[in-house]
């Protein structure tokens, strides 16, 4: 029988209850935006989902003031345990409505329903649960007793994990006692706007969470430079992160940045080979490769290169590319035309610079933005595809001969977010983990996330950590008496 071709198994969108248009959510109310509007579209079909109002600088000012008022009058005066209860409520509500959010995220982002259902949304709830418990334990965060919140946090999140990045930002900020103004990404505002409903069902006081979709250069810029903001947390590209850091020079605004990466995934000849193949696939084809910590540079020991690549291609050949709402889809749509263009442009440098290209042969839908999983072999460290973050389903395969060479090549990057090590030799694994200049090292696994586990980069991958105790300290300052 033929099981490679499965009958369509689409997740129903009947669970969604979307509006035709969304404004801004400021001070506990929906208000009109003054920076125009744009349709958010489904990247798998290019069909519009809803019209989204865009904040201008004036709208951002209102949002910051609302957050300040909520901070001064309500949130900073509330006990930690009370704040925690709101976060627990939010976590539960998200669990109850998980499928609805998963479907919405898939429609808006283009990522497979399997991922939003099994990974994104469960982690969102977990993040709120974890930080809910921090709210009344801040004395143990490592800043001495009575640490204080920073005040109003401006948060700017990317399009690759829209609701999850919201959770990474909002949960620790609220737990630490800050109020927030959050700007979702231009192409993926939907679940952040739906999150408003969760805040209202949780009874969250007005102004504690303000959601302001908008353009980066307008709303994002206004938020970063607003004098009433005490903290900026940004996840996105290194170039924008650099710009923000420059803008905040000379101010007292606290800053954490989670930026790009070019993660090395290192496979030794003694690795559990089939699991290493699986981890490599998960490392680069998870979420269409739209992952800052993707294992986009495969460093494989030269003596197992051919065998490994053969197994890898075989495994990639079983990936299903297409309708993200289909429960069997492994690789969904590229998030936007702009991103597709970028992936195509960087990938086009591969062959002229000497690499060999292999692309999964598969049908993709006519409408929408698609890029077939691609593997480049024979890649040199100097090649563009080995140095630049592609942020797409494109793997560059390089080789090494000795562990030291693997370490040197892995660290030879301005980035330092993630790395993977595949070996059955424990001492080598630990020494590699010691030597890798990356904020997250996955040994015999890849792309694992957990709210208790700090995440963040070295070097140009940004600074600050999200997750666990380290994540909550990013929203706190040492108190008075110690």
């Amino acid at each position: 029988m033929n099981l490679r071709e499965l009958a369509p198994a689409p997740e129903s969108t009947a669970i969604l209850n979307l509006r035709d248009s969304y404004g801004l959510y400021i001070d506990g109310r929906w208000v009109d935006a003054h920076g125009g509007s744009m349709a958010t579209i489904s990247p798998a079909t290019e069909k519009p989902i809803a019209e989204i109002g865009l904040a201008n600088a004036g709208d951002i000012d209102l949002a910051v003031k609302a957050a300040r008022k909520a901070y001064d009058t309500v949130w900073s005066r509330m006990s930690g345990s009370e704040r925690g209860k709101y976060l627990f409520r939010i976590a539960r509500l998200l669990q109850e409505r998980a499928r609805e959010f998963a479907v919405a995220e898939t429609v808006d982002n283009g990522k497979p329903i399997r991922e939003t259902r099994d990974i994104d949304i469960p982690l969102v709830a977990a993040w709120f649960f974890h930080y809910a418990g921090w709210a009344d334990k801040l004395d143990f965060a490592g800043l001495g007793t009575n640490p204080r919140a920073l005040g109003v946090a401006g948060q700017i999140i990317p399009w690759n994990f829209p609701l999850l990045m919201l959770a990474w930002k909002v949960a620790p900020a609220l737990a630490a006692g800050n109020t927030v103004v959050l700007k979702p990404a231009e192409t993926t505002p939907l679940t952040a706007l739906m999150f408003v409903d969760i805040c209202e069902q949780a009874g969250l006081p007005a102004g504690v969470v303000n959601i302001v979709p908008g353009l980066g250069e307008v709303a994002g810029q206004a938020l970063v430079t607003h004098p009433g903001v005490n903290k900026i947390a940004f996840t996105g590209s290194t170039s924008v992160g650099r710009h923000i850091a420059r803008e905040l020079a000379g101010t007292d605004v606290a800053l954490t940045l989670e930026l790009g990466g070019k993660g090395a995934n290192i496979v030794f000849d003694d690795a559990a080979i089939d699991e290493a193949v699986e981890g490599t696939v998960n490392g680069i084809f998870f979420n269409q490769g739209h992952v800052c910590c993707a294992g986009s540079r495969l460093l494989v020991q030269e003596n197992v290169h051919d065998e490994f690549v053969e197994k890898l291609k075989r495994r990639v050949s079983t990936l299903r590319v297409g309708d993200p709402l289909d429960k069997n889809t492994d690789v969904g749509a590229i998030n936007s035309r702009e991103q597709l263009d970028r992936i195509e442009a960087i990938s086009a440098t591969g062959e002229p610079e000497g690499a060999s290209r292999w692309t999964l042969e598969c049908a993709v839908p006519k409408a929408g933005f698609w890029f077939r999983p691609t593997i480049f072999t024979g890649v040199s460290t100097s090649n563009t595809i080995a140095r630049e973050e592609i942020f797409g389903p494109v793997l560059s395969v390089l080789t090494f001969r000795t562990p030291q060479e693997a370490l040197d090549k892995a660290n030879n990057s301005p980035y330092g977010l993630s790395a993977g090590v595949w070996t059955q030799t424990a001492s080598r694994m630990l020494t590699m983990a010691d030597g890798l200049r990356a904020g997250v090292v996955w040994s015999n696994t890849f792309n694992q996330f957990d709210p208790t586990s700090p995440f963040g980069g070295y070097k140009e991958s940004g600074f600050g950590r999200e997750g666990g105790r380290h994540g909550v300290t990013a929203y706190l300052a040492a108190g008075g008496a110690r």
């Binding site: 029988m1 033929n2 099981l3 490679r4 071709e5 499965l6 009958a7 369509p8 198994a9 399997r114 099994d118 000849d269 003694d270 690795a271 559990a272 080979i273 089939d274 699991e275 290493a276 699986e278 981890g279 003596n303 197992v304 051919d306 065998e307 053969e310 079983t318 429960k327 069997n328 059955q424 015999n444 696994t445």
Partner: protein, 395 residues
Amino acid sequence: MTENSDSALALRAARLYYDEGKTQDEIGEILSITRWKAGRLLALARESGLVSITIANDAASPAAAPSSGIIPTARSRAHGVVDSASLRAFVTALPGVDAIGLEGRAARIATRSVKNESKREALDTIIRLIDLTTLEGADTPGKVRSLVQKAVVPDPADPTAPRVAAVCVYPDMVEHAVAALGDRAGDGLTGIGVASVATAFPSGRSILEVKLADTRYAVSKGATEIDMVIDRGAFLAGDLDLVFREIAAVRRACERPDGTHAHLKVILETGELRTYDNIKRASWLAILAGADFIKTSTGKVQPAATLPTTVLMLEVVRDWFALTGERIGVKPAGGIRQSKDAIRYLVAVSEIAGDEWLHPYLFRFGASSLLNDVLLQRQRMTSGHYSGADYVTID
């Protein structure tokens, strides 16, 4: 002693050693010579070309352990010809298994959603791959006849329901199964096969003579397939050579006078081997020794078949095929009771080994209650409403 008589003795020693799995001590006893002499005879057998040991260099074998240096090829299979040092070196040098990664792979396979026409086809495929099994102390000729009827006509209300691949019984029940099948007997594809467990099933704790006699008896009564158990004790004690030679000897015992042989399924009893590394090594060992199928479990030990274990064994047969061009079958057995579980195994077969493995010669389910659950699902898909237990027959 003349050269000729030495050669004759060497041939006998080689047969005892390679075909019947005797140790050098036992050969000494049987032939009334010292074990040293037995060793020299075996060496002579090898040097004189009476037996040939085929060892391939790893350069030609991409799927196998890069550092092992020696890989017995397919040509050594079924002749039991491999020396213990190279065997040990080979299986212990196989790449290890990371349990979490393997289980993650299996969990991902389990998320596949098989709907509508794909599900209909999958349900029928499951039935065609079932070894309908009864392995009870209370088995009787009547019970076996009833099982056979169920195998032939799984759903009396729906003649479109396919028949199963085989029935699986104890050796003393083989003749009853064969008689009940009559002209509907076959090899799993051409007709319904008769599989017999053998070799002191399920523990395998007996002497080789008993295991071989068990096997020969079942084959002589018409068993088309033999499901043997490996000596898990020997495996865990590190006596890989003994495990290997036993399998090879049972494989010989499966041969019929006309030169054909009953297909040999080798049960690893993965629940007793415990680790995935062990299961991987035992899978390779069984294939090298002549297995036509590798099978997870007897059904008498928990855990029996699991999806990760089956994924691992499918990876081994996939790699063996890449190495030799020869396809080996896989049979998960025990604990697969529901259609949705069985469908996950089919997906595993498809994604790991390939759709060509979804064939009675290459994949079987060892199961009993699974069949009725599949039939209930079929009825639901045919009628559009849910069915009930009274609408499928008990065997």
